[in-house]
């Protein structure tokens, strides 16, 4: 029977994959995907906890997170488009103007 611990581990693994993805990948869009991945791993965790504690609130919170993830993605993509229009590139490593 799949226990609580397994879900927790899965969610932790997903979370770390998201974080590591942000550090390694060069393309901004991929980074956005990793951010989404992190948020979804949290959703999983919420659902797992609420199922095992028989407490329904967790699952409701998941909807909040969906909404926010969507808003975030929208604004993020708008920024990337604006940046692309200016700099013709979406390589994260080229973003170096502001430093010091």
């Amino acid at each position: 029977m799949v226990g609580m611990l397994d879900y927790a581990i899965l969610s932790a693994v997903l979370f770390t994959v998201g974080v590591v993805g942000i550090l390694i990948r060069r393309n901004i869009i991929t980074i956005f995907m990793c951010i989404e991945l992190m948020l979804n791993s949290v959703n999983l965790l919420f659902v797992a906890f609420s199922r095992y504690m028989g407490h329904v609130d967790g699952q409701i919170f998941v909807f909040f997170i969906f909404a926010i993830a969507a808003a975030e993605a929208a604004v993020g993509l708008a920024l990337v488009v604006a940046y692309f229009k200016l700099k013709e590139t979406i390589e994260v490593d080229e973003i170096k103007l502001l430093k010091g």
Binding site: I22, L23, V92, D93, I95, K96, L97, K99, G100
Partner: protein
Amino acid sequence: MTGYVWLIPVFPLIGFLINGLFGKRLSRKTIGVIASGAILFSFLLACVIFFQMNSSVELSEKGIRNVLFPWIHIGDFSVNFGYLFDRLSGSMTLMVAGVSFLIHVYSIGYMAEEEGYWRYFAYLNLFVFMMLTLVLADNLLLMFVGWEGVGLCSYLLIGFYYTTEVASDAGKKAFIVNRVGDFGFMLGMFFLFTLFGSLEFQHIREAVISAGLKPEHGMGLITLATVLLFLGATGKSAQIPLYVWLPDAMAGPTPVSALIHAATMVTSGVYMIVKLNYVFQLAPITMLTIAWIGGLTALFAATIGTVQNDIKKVLAYSTVSQLGYMFLALGVGAFIAGFFHILTHAFFKALLFLGSGSVIHAMHHAFHHAGIHDKDPQDIRNMGGLKKYMPKTYWTFLVATLAIAGFPPFAGFFSKDEILWKTFASSHRVLWAIGAFAAILTSFYMFRLVYLTFFGEFRGSKREEEALHESPSVMTFPLIALAVLSVIGGWIGFPHIFKLPNVLEQYLEPVIENTGGIHFLHNSALEWGLMDVSILCAIAGWLFARTLYAGKSDVPGKLAKTFSYFYSILLNKYYVDEIYFALIIRPVKKIGDFCWLFIDTIIIDGTVNLVAYLARCFGRIYSLYQNGAVKVYALTMLGGILVLFWIFF
């Protein structure tokens, strides 16, 4: 009139203020009159008070005291501005005022063509005010005021021709060496205040007598106090360690040398010790050091004096040597003999300086007339045969030379012989021998001076010779007055074996308290014998000088060549100045540079700037780290999380 003792020093002060503030606008004549008049008034007032004091027994015992106003009152330390006119300070005031008056009159003539005339007389009056304050002070602190005041005036007057570096250097040197002495004097005052609770002479005197202190109490503090006071005295009266400023002080005008560096200021050290004789007697070790330093200075200065070629330098070293005699007298406990030598020395040394002044004055005119600017008017090698041209100067100069050499009827004989006798009588045999030998040298260099200046032929061109003439009467009158004093000056202190009354001894007897248990053996036969010995010394010196310098022989030249090594040492004053420069002045400058360049800028300032630089470096390092890459930012966030992990678990 007893209430006006304070007016004696104030007259010269008024003279100073008038000349100082309005001097520029006054004519030369009025300046001279005001200056000399001020001194004359204070001299006459001093005489009046002197006689008034001696008329009443009670007054002459205790002395007249005027307290003007409180000066420094902190806690139990209270010092007032007060003047004390007792027997000792009274007689000293008379001498100082008298000699100053004569020198002021002389200066009117001597400084006639100099510019800055009003400045000269203003400083001279200020000097007399300071000297009289020193002499008449009723407490040590006020004496210290006069002490440093005369030091200041000697600085101003030595550096009178301030546009020449030599003069201003000499002035500065005089002031600083005096300051070294004053450093000792001040510390001595602190010790005295700790010991006796007050700095007033009468208070200290009562404390010493009432406590019945005796030397065998082994008072460490008293010895320390007296040694420090003596250090002050050596500074002011140019003894061995601190005499170097006096020969250089000759860079000032000659009347200044006469007044300050012969008669008055240099004797203030001796006067202070005489005034505090009851304290000094309690410290036998200090008495011994004073005696020995006095003796050695007398000998040391006399040897240098024998080879100097500048007329004023010879007299300067002779002054140092005569001061050595005074300290020798004090050291062996003959305070009155020391004081007696002050008086007589003031007369004939002032006369010698004024005489040399009129010689220099004449030589200056001669060179000026002949249009020569490179020859030194003070160098005796350019003189010779002035007897014919300046008879008055010659005769007065001769009288003074006889007095200083110690020929019987003259003043010098009585006072110097008294000192030598008292030295021998207080069983200081070796010191007596040094004194006697120095006496020979004294008479030798004085007569050498006379022969080279006044006898033989004029060593200079014809044009210079015609211009030579006697100084004006305003200069020769003081010479004559001083010559008379040099003769009769000695008669106030006949040795008791002459069965004649020793006026000075009886008069100053109450001033000297015999607390130190000093005793002199009484053997008149021995005294007569020693008197003959000292006369012989004087004659020996004279004959030796005559053989060398009277004739045309070039014996001195040959002698100089054979003993060239000794000769050059003596000529260069044992290189004492150079030694002082190497041992003290240069190292102090080096330390100064070291402190400033190394400690201040590199170490202290360095650390301050280093701290600022470090902060800036950390800032720069950080700004390099912040290189704008999003990845790096994310990484630091991760690092932060890990650190929190480490802290939490």
